[in-house]
Symmetry: C2
Amino acid sequence: MYNQISKTKKAVRQIKQAIPLQTLQRLPAYLSYLRRVLPDKKNVSARTIAAALSLGEIQVRKDLAAVSDKGRPKTGYDTAELIADIEDTLGCTNSKDAVLIGAGKLGTALLSYKGFSEYGLNIVSAFDTDKSKCGTDESGKAVLPMEKLTDFCKRLNIRIGIITVPAAHAQEICDKLVDCGIKAVWNFAPVHLNAPPGVLVKSENMAASLALLSRHLMEPDTSPDKDEE
Amino acid sequence: MYNQISKTKKAVRQIKQAIPLQTLQRLPAYLSYLRRVLPDKKNVSARTIAAALSLGEIQVRKDLAAVSDKGRPKTGYDTAELIADIEDTLGCTNSKDAVLIGAGKLGTALLSYKGFSEYGLNIVSAFDTDKSKCGTDESGKAVLPMEKLTDFCKRLNIRIGIITVPAAHAQEICDKLVDCGIKAVWNFAPVHLNAPPGVLVKSENMAASLALLSRHLMEPDTSPDKDEE
DNA sequence: GGAATATAGATATTCCTTTATCGATATAAT
DNA sequence: ATTATATCGATAAAGGAATATCTATATTCC
């Protein structure tokens, strides 16, 4: 099976088996690591990656098998090929435009962060009800008044919305984004958001992370204490 | 079992059964919801919570059973009591001090965020190598030079460190924090961090969230599409 | 060319989480 | 009082993910 009927396998993978949720969420970590070591390592094995990221070797191997079939005994994967396969799976190559609502501290921090482009995300513009925040951000991106949101999204066919407004207004903004045709919402406000079927809401739950840290400090017990990501 | 031998049950819960990881991470969402509705609702049922947060009723009931035994048929839980039990489990009551390293955009955003106190987190001070960033932040919190970190942590017995430095320096900062006696690291840099046993590292993996959003946009298929948090 | 070795891939098992089903009980209504 | 009902709690089943085990196969070394 090493390199002969790859087409068949890939087809099967794409048609029948969706990539497991947990695997999907680990892929960016692999990608980041591989990009970093590419200049040095032309080849990598699952074991190497596992050691670098403190993961189980078998788990990594299984994850990689879900996105690529170019692994070869004794040599492992060609790093560049593996990067390409992961990028392909994650859709890093085709740039996805997004709008960001709420030009507060967190909003502007995200707005000026350069790293999202590595995963194909491009924040086109920010919006805020506060006119004093409108204008051109330090990062060179525009902050527009809320009134222009709907027209903007529809004209540019934006499908991703990032919410960085206070919790009290998040649901209302979410509803508005849905009206604008947004299909995926990335929510940084600490509230649950309701959205109609077909619209995915992914909330960044910092409180959940805190719960983990807190428990660790409360239970200085004998546990082996693998780190959680 | 309704209200009679609660002591025994609680003891068993605390001794034998640790709260499942996934449950633990949902608790803050319950807490947030309960606090919001407390003025209106003296009592809540698992079903009510489930509906509000788009979760399964049985799942919520099981989660609540893990932290409280004060639920009663027909009436549900006393809201205030349930809040207290969750707070107790999460350790919201005793304030935990933390230091933050990296006073960039994201760092200062977190520094000035008021919401962490609701979960018992208190960011005492920030640190940065860049002297020009040192001084007193807008939020009233001090940004100190890195040289003072070790002494500061040891004197105040700080156990939580928040990393908001660029990825390239994150591991080195993490090592330093460990030297300072930090026991829990909250990492916002997009790299895996290694830490010795006994030190928990929780990374905020935004790229993983992006992967989810991205997949959703790539596969506009027939899936039922429950939203992910 | 043959043996040793590192590695991928497949299958099976175990574990954790979620979901389903059933029984018990406090409140409300008749 | 008796019955109905909403809800909790416990047990059981199902699903998904992590881990273990085994097999196959390139590469390397002799």
